[in-house]
């Protein structure tokens, strides 16, 4: 009877689940089943066991039928519902059922630095022939915890992501593969050290070069939070999961331009869920994941033991696949895989360890994988001839730098060193020989003091902002109030003065009013030194998001440009540098496939031409939501490019201005070793409204201010706009050193 009771309970749960996910399509039919089940429960001890079993079988068959029917009618929003359901499998279930043994690290349940992130050292066994092999792995992932409140629904806090990174490093030291399980609706948006955005950026940067295989499994991939542990060699996704740039509710709030506290209509949320292309199938099509792991109808629940068995095989297979793709195998096994591909790995033993060469191959392959992502989702408007000509130009430039820096570097340095030595020797001899004469001269004509002051002044003048540009904002004959007038008693400022002579800065308190990006292009760099490249790479509407084409066209008309980033060569006092400038006039400076590609190309150009790279953020609102996960993968893609550039010895400086938020800050901007902010700018992960809505806590008005970012250690300094040119020049000189960045 206990067994029957258990079965009844199980059926009851299945019914509840079915009702929660897709109850609306069955209506009365589910009620009938529920009543039948309730009646059976009442009669459990009056009916014979055989009859009960018979009824149970019938109900079970009926539920299965309904589940299959519901499965066929699943909409994207239903996947969101499935993933968030408390019955859904969680990381702990996987650790219990897929791995043979595990030890949880850094905390247990509530007693944890961040209960939303679980790290565990686990073992997984595999039978090949008659032998059982045990593999060691590091499992890192989000734990949603079947409704446990302290888990925050798998929303990792900055220190949770730091914990994930800590154990990735441990795995790297031990040389064991990392399995990361993504079960997060998004990162917890708080700025406290280490900072939501900055920590994700740090994780991405580290993962771009981690020396062990990483395999990611996505169930709920909520944007930046997912990327924090998601830069993997192989990305698998559960068939009933979702992977999205923003939650459908969040997208609906933006789409509907809703006021804070107002809920979006269910239709709008459904519309957004459909437009964002969040399902596993969509993501596979877009190339943001590699494979789908099929789940039972309506998704895997914690009792689906068959699924866990299948998952175990998939986990082993995926790890094998990554290892084998870089491993130098024995002849026979190599022949086998050449013939059959990496699919048939069940009967062949693979050691999950790599030697130095294989590690290098692994990292290279990982970087190439992300480099190639999203390359089909922008257009190059240049004609084929134009493209060829500019390719040739680039090649010529690269060849020139190759000859200068690579071929001739060593001989030139030798000659330089040799001549320096000779000069030093000669100086000693001359000093000896000439010392009596010098003494005599000094007696007759006392030496004059050299006046460096005028030279210094000249130098200072050179680094002052360049004039000759008048902001169109200065053409208004009005006064304007400083926002700090109440606190500091600032007088009203006459607008033509403010935007010309004062560089948009309040003369009393130093508040920086926003200035257009053209001002920086004109005033910051040497005259005629700005030469744009890749301007023809244009943003498109890759997901055919309804109404987005018109918005893109509008942005094009408004700016006369094709994307939200401008990349150009420039000079500051003769120092050549590459600049990538995100500006807010084009779709709020959001980053999509075109912007990501242009940034990566800028990194590659800087690397090849051996020039410092400046990322000046005039404003960015984050990842472009209308591009869905194609936008999200720009985060790892660009971070990988930055890492490659830095590893080649580059000097990468980020300067934030106005408003810099979300994805870009949490990836290729936040990972920079040198980050500065212009005064009065705001830097953060999520805006105040999102913070209030997700955390339920209010934040002070200056929460995201540059001063607070500096206080938290997110940036290295705050620059005055008037000193931008000078500070940038100084930074290039001091951080870049004599040979400008090349170590």
């Amino acid at each position: 009877m206990i067994e029957l009771e258990k079965q009844l309970l199980f059926l009851e749960k299945r019914l509840i689940y079915l009702n929660d996910i897709k109850g609306e399509i069955f209506g009365e039919r589910l009620n009938t089943l529920q009543n039948w089940l309730a009646k059976l429960k009442e009669q459990l001890y009056t009916l014979s066991a055989k009859d009960v079993q018979k009824n149970i079988n019938k109900i079970s068959a009926q539920i299965s039928l309904y589940e299959k029917e519901a499965e066929k009618k699943l909409t994207p929003l239903d996947y969101v519902r499935i993933v968030r359901h408390p019955f859904r499998i969680s990381l702990k279930d996987i650790l219990e059922n897929v791995y043979d043994d595990y030890v949880e690290l850094a905390g247990a349940d509530e007693c944890n630095i961040d209960p939303a992130v679980v790290a565990a050292r686990a073992t997984i066994n595999r039978k090949v022939g008659h032998r059982i092999y045990t593999y060691q792995v590091m499992v890192i992932g989000h734990e949603k915890g079947h409704g446990e409140e302290f888990r925050n629904g798998g929303s990792a806090k900055p220190w949770g992501n730091a914990k994930a990174l800590q154990f990735m490093k441990v795995a790297e030291t031990e040389g064991i593969p990392i399995h990361s399980y993504i079960f997060t609706p998004g990162a917890f948006p708080i700025e406290d050290y280490p900072g939501a955005a900055q920590q994700i950026a740090r994780n991405l940067y580290a993962m771009a070069g981690i020396r062990v295989p990483i395999i990611a499994f996505i169930s709920e991939g909520g944007s930046g939070g997912a990327e924090a542990i998601g830069l993997a060699d192989l990305r698998l996704m559960f068939s009933h999961g979702y992977y999205s740039v923003i939650s459908p509710e969040g997208a609906a709030a933006i789409e509907g331009k809703l006021k804070e506290g107002k809920k979006a209509s269910p239709e709008l949320i459904r519309f957004c869920a459909e437009q964002l292309k969040i399902t596993a199938k969509d993501n596979l099509q877009l190339g943001t994941i590699d494979r789908i792991i099929q789940e039972p109808p309506l998704g895997a629940k914690r009792e689906d033991y068959d699924f866990f068995n299948r998952l175990k095989r998939e986990v082993i297979k995926a790890t094998d696949e990554v290892i084998l793709s870089v491993k130098s195998l024995g002849t026979l096994r190599a022949y086998h895989y050449k013939k059959n591909g990496y699919k048939d790995t069940d009967n062949i033993y693979v050691r999950w360890q790599l030697d130095e060469k294989e590690i290098q191959r692994l990292i290279q392959k990982r970087r190439q994988k992300y480099r190639n992502m999203g390359t089909n989702f922008y257009v190059d408007l240049r004609s084929p001839l134009h493209r060829k000509v500019s390719n040739l130009k680039d090649k010529f430039l690269y060849a020139k730098t190759y000859i200068c820096y690579d071929l001739l570097r060593r001989p030139r340095r030798r000659i330089q060193q040799f001549s320096e030595e000779i000069k030093a020797e000669l100086l000693v001899i001359f000093n000896h020989l000439l010392s009596p004469l010098v003494k005599l001269r000094n007696k007759i004509l006392p030496p004059k003091l050299s006046y460096l002051v005028s030279e210094e002044l000249q130098e200072m003048e050179k680094v002052c902002l360049r004039g000759g540009y008048v902001s169109p904002r200065a053409k208004v004959d009005k006064t304007i109030s400083c926002p700090n007038a109440e606190r500091y008693g600032c007088y009203d400022i006459w607008i033509p003065d403010l935007y010309s002579e004062f560089c948009g800065i309040c003369p009393n308190c130093g508040h920086h009013f926003p200035l257009e990006y053209q001002w920086y292009i004109h005033c910051l760099f040497d005259k005629n030194s700005v030469k744009e490249f890749n301007a023809e790479i244009a943003s498109i509407n890759p997901l055919n998001y309804k109404g987005f084409d018109e918005k893109l066209e509008e942005a094009r008309q408004k700016t006369g440009r094709h994307s939200a980033i401008i990349t150009f060569d420039a000079k500051i006092l003769g120092i050549e540098l590459i600049v990538a400038m995100l500006y807010s006039d084009f779709r709020g400076g959001t980053v999509g496939a075109a912007e990501g590609e242009k940034f990566v190309l800028a990194c590659e150009r800087a690397k090849r031409l051996r020039r410092p790279l400046l990322a000046y953020v005039h404003g960015t609102a984050g990842i472009r939501i209308q591009e869905g996960t194609i936008g999200v993968i720009q985060m790892p893609k660009c971070t990988v490019a930055v890492r490659e550039y830095l590893e080649a010895g580059g000097l990468y400086i980020v300067v934030y201005d106005n408003n810099s938020y979300a994805g870009p800050v949490a990836s290729f901007l936040g990972c920079a070793p040198y980050q500065f902010a212009i005064r009065s700018s705001k830097i953060g992960f999520a805006g105040p409204r999102v913070i209030r809505e997700t955390t339920g806590e209010d934040i002070p008005p200056d929460y995201h201010s540059a001063r607070n970012a500096l206080r938290r250690g997110h940036i290295q300094g705050i620059w005055d706009r008037r000193d931008f040119r000078k500070n940038l020049y100084m930074a290039l000189r001091t951080m870049g050193g004599k040979n400008l960045y090349y170590r």
């Binding site: 208004v476 004959d477 009005k478 006064t479 304007i480 109030s481 009203d492 006459w494 209010d698 002070p700 008005p701």
Partner: protein, 217 residues
């Protein structure tokens, strides 16, 4: 307590009952063209929020040199003395436009009385404050409102980054009536630390506060 003091208490209470309001006059900070956004008798809301970040009801706008500035109610209350004739007119600086009649709460009324009759000792620096050991002992033994402090005696210890400075009392002999700070928490510069009252006024103030406390509606 003398009958004179008793009378005084009655007078103060009667005065408060007759007019339980505080009136804030709203004047223009500078010249400009005014346009009023409220009507006479309208209830307005003051600045709210933990960091006073939410603005109150819009009272009027003032345009000077094409720059429109908005002015909001600083405190809850009712609009009185609204000079409607000024709407749309050019005004000089410091022209009174309206008043906000704010009804005092029980705490505000008591604080007002205390401010009037007590000598408030404010924090000279942002630091942690402790009562001087002798005074602390006195308060422990006798209780608050009984410990007398004379000029020249040690009053407080100001502690900041392990630098302790003894603050001596300078003023008329008085009784520690109220302690505003908590030990081991940082007090901002200028915030009240102690309320000290002259010994002869003690009974009077206690009675007055009690009466307000009981009778305030």
């Amino acid at each position: 307590m003398t009958s004179k003091q008793q009378m005084k208490i009655e007078d103060i209470i009667a005065e408060y009952k007759r007019n339980p309001y505080q009136v804030f006059t709203i004047s223009t900070p500078h010249t400009g063209i005014v346009s009023l956004k409220v009507t006479k008798g309208q209830k307005v809301q003051g600045t709210t929020g933990k960091w006073l970040e939410r603005k109150g009801t819009l009272l009027y706008t003032l345009v000077r040199q094409g720059n429109e500035k908005r002015f909001y109610a600083p405190i809850d209350g009712e609009i009185t003395d609204l000079d409607e004739s000024l709407d749309g007119q050019f005004v000089e600086a410091k022209t009174p436009l309206m008043s906000i009649k704010h009804k005092l709460s029980k705490e505000e009324a008591i604080n007002k009385v205390l401010e009037k009759f007590l000598e408030i000792y404010n924090a000279p620096e942002t630091a942690k404050y402790y009562l001087a050991p002798e005074l602390y002992q006195k308060i422990e033994q006798k209780g608050l409102k009984k410990a007398l402090i004379n000029p020249g005696e040690e009053l407080l210890i100001m502690s900041r980054m392990k630098r302790d400075v003894v603050l001596n009392y300078e003023g008329r002999p008085g009784i520690i009536y109220v302690i505003y700070f908590k030990p081991n928490t940082t007090v901002n510069q200028g915030d009240p630390l102690l309320g000290i009252c002259p010994p002869e006024q003690l009974e009077f103030i206690s009675h007055l506060v009690k009466r307000i406390y009981l009778e305030w509606e």
